[in-house]
């Protein structure tokens, strides 16, 4: 199959909030204002952008959890939202909030997830232990309720939940936020290994510039729901007129803001 792993074209998403008691009154929040980009199979793409720029929203659209209000989305050759069933079989997602049944153990949470994807118990448990072991999760706590685990440990279980499924496309929304430097590096090495050995396609959001530089072939910069720049880390640095990727981040994501502020100032 020579199709793109992700093809997003002019995708828009608006969140409306009712403000009044009577219908008609509502505020609009455009989280995505016509974003277009694509990922080739096996590519690793980083989405950078300030808080609230729409990264998680875009990832939710790709994981079939949000229906966009405009534009076209294709994941692994399947159209969304029409072919969501096919897409769901082929994606794994990690989000910043490690959402689990907190009273259940890592083992129980992971087995539940594995069964949903049709895995065998023995196979799933073996793989779960393997992955968690590598990520530095203390295996003696494999069967303890997750509410007793630290935030970073929970995040490791969240990562294991996605990796366990061995999907061809991984959507990683700040997967390493809250991890210590060593665990962070373990996760990054794991991701690199997955790409090397399984050809997994990766879409990653992160606030860690080193992580983005290390893992991603290309980086897209989101600001206020629009893709303002795209290219390799070097491209972005060059575009921003030198410095580090962090300088580029601040410059590129900030420019749009001043532009918008001017626009509203003019309008007022």
């Amino acid at each position: 199959m020579s199709c793109l792993a992700i093809r997003v074209s002019q995708v828009k998403k608006v969140f409306r909030k009712r403000t009044g008691w009577w219908r008609g009154q509502s505020t609009e929040e455009w989280a995505l204002k016509g974003v277009s980009f694509h990922l080739k199979q096996g590519e690793a793409y980083g989405l950078l952008g300030p808080n609230g720029s729409g990264k998680s929203t875009l990832i939710r659209v790709l994981s079939t959890l949000l229906v966009p209000d405009g534009g076209e989305v294709e994941v692994l050759g399947y159209k969304l939202p029409e072919q969501e069933a096919q897409v769901r079989e082929r994606i794994g997602r990690v989000s910043v909030d490690a959402a689990f049944y907190k009273k259940l153990s890592a083992r129980e949470n992971l087995l539940y997830s594995a069964f949903l994807y049709g895995f065998d118990k023995a196979e799933a448990e073996k793989r779960a232990r393997e992955i968690l072991g590598r990520l530095g999760f203390p295996l003696r706590r494999f069967s303890d309720p997750l509410e007793e685990a630290s935030r970073g440990m929970q995040q490791k279980v969240a990562i294991a939940r996605a990796l366990l499924l061995q999907p061809p496309l991984l959507l990683l929304d700040e997967p390493t936020t809250g991890l210590d430097p060593k665990s962070k590096r373990e996760v990054q090495e794991f991701i690199e290994e997955l790409r090397r050995e399984s050809g997994t396609t990766i879409l990653l959001t992160t606030h860690d510039m080193f992580e983005a530089e290390r893992l991603c072939d290309r980086i897209g910069m989101l600001a206020h729901g629009s893709l303002v720049a795209e290219g390799s880390a070097e491209d972005l640095v060059r575009l921003a007129g030198g410095g580090t990727l962090e300088d580029a981040f601040i410059k590129l994501s900030g420019e749009k803001l001043t532009g918008e502020e001017e626009a509203t100032a003019e309008g007022a």
Partner: protein, 273 residues
């Protein structure tokens, strides 16, 4: 093709583990159900009325099964909202039919076991004797009415999909209205005229009607012997219950699908991040 069987099992497995981890709550709720059930049934003992005692007891038992069944299904979604796992369950490659079947299967098993525990508990407080009752018939009515309650549970389960805060509250209101209109502890005829039509809409009404006939309280001999009616005598109730089930289950699945699509358009599935 992912095994449907394994996916169904995923929900049974999950809910079983949750029951296990929350066992102290299970004990609390069961004790509460026994005590409140016994308090209701003892009203009959106090009035020295065996017929009333048995009518109340069967009400307690049926409501125990059906309300727990309804509640388990309706609250399983609310629970996922609180934990934040709903997004993960919804993005898994599992059809809503399989998802809700798994949840319903576990709920049916759990509510049955709990009702048996409640019945056992009631024996501590009451001198119950069911000799003469059509117990097999009672079981059939319970099974047939379960279907309708699964359907109601599915419909109520959409509330937590649509609203994280209000959903669980609305579910409880819905359940208490069912209890009120279905004549669980009293005949429908004592309800105000304007409430009575609602009774006809509740599957519990038919289930309780039928259960009283099968138990034989209406046809009790003067010396207090139960004469359980044959299954044929509750044919119309059974047909109505089956029809309600066949209507409510697909309706429940359909509105659940609608609610899910709506939530995905408006961003209501999200918790944080």
């Amino acid at each position: 093709m992912i095994s449907r069987f394994k996916q169904t099992w995923a929900f049974v497995y999950r809910d079983y583990q949750l029951t296990r981890r929350y066992w102290s709550w299970v004990v609390v709720f069961t004790v509460y159900a026994v005590v409140s059930g016994a308090s209701v049934a003892l009203i009959g003992v106090a009035s020295n009325d065996r017929k009333l005692t048995l009518t109340l007891t069967i009400g307690v038992l049926f409501w125990s099964v059906l309300s727990v069944l309804f509640n388990e299904i309706a609250m399983s979604i609310a629970f996922e909202r609180w934990e934040g796992t709903l997004e993960y369950t919804f993005m898994a490659p599992v059809s809503r039919l399989i998802h809700l079947t798994g949840v319903s299967l576990y709920a049916a098993a759990y509510s049955t076991l709990r009702a048996i525990a409640v019945l056992g508990g009631l024996f501590l407080f009451l001198d119950l004797d069911f000799t003469g009752a059509n117990l097999f018939g009672l079981l059939i009515v319970l099974v047939v009415s379960s279907l309708a309650f699964v359907g109601l549970g599915l419909i109520a389960a959409i509330l937590p999909v649509m609203s994280p805060e209000r959903g669980a509250e609305a579910t409880n209101i819905f359940q208490s209205i069912l209890l009120l209109v279905s004549g669980v502890y009293y005949p429908i005829s004592v309800l105000p005229k304007w409430v009575q039509p609602f009774a006809a809409l509740s599957p519990a009404t038919y289930a309780l009607n039928a259960s009283r006939k099968l138990l034989g309280v209406e046809t009790m001999t003067p010396d207090g012997k139960l004469i359980g009616q044959p299954l044929a005598s509750v044919q119309s109730e059974l047909v109505t219950l089956a029809a309600l089930g066949l209507l409510l289950v697909p309706l429940g699945l359909w509105v659940f699908g609608m609610a899910e699509r709506w939530a995905k358009r408006t961003g209501k599935l999200k918790r944080t991040g």
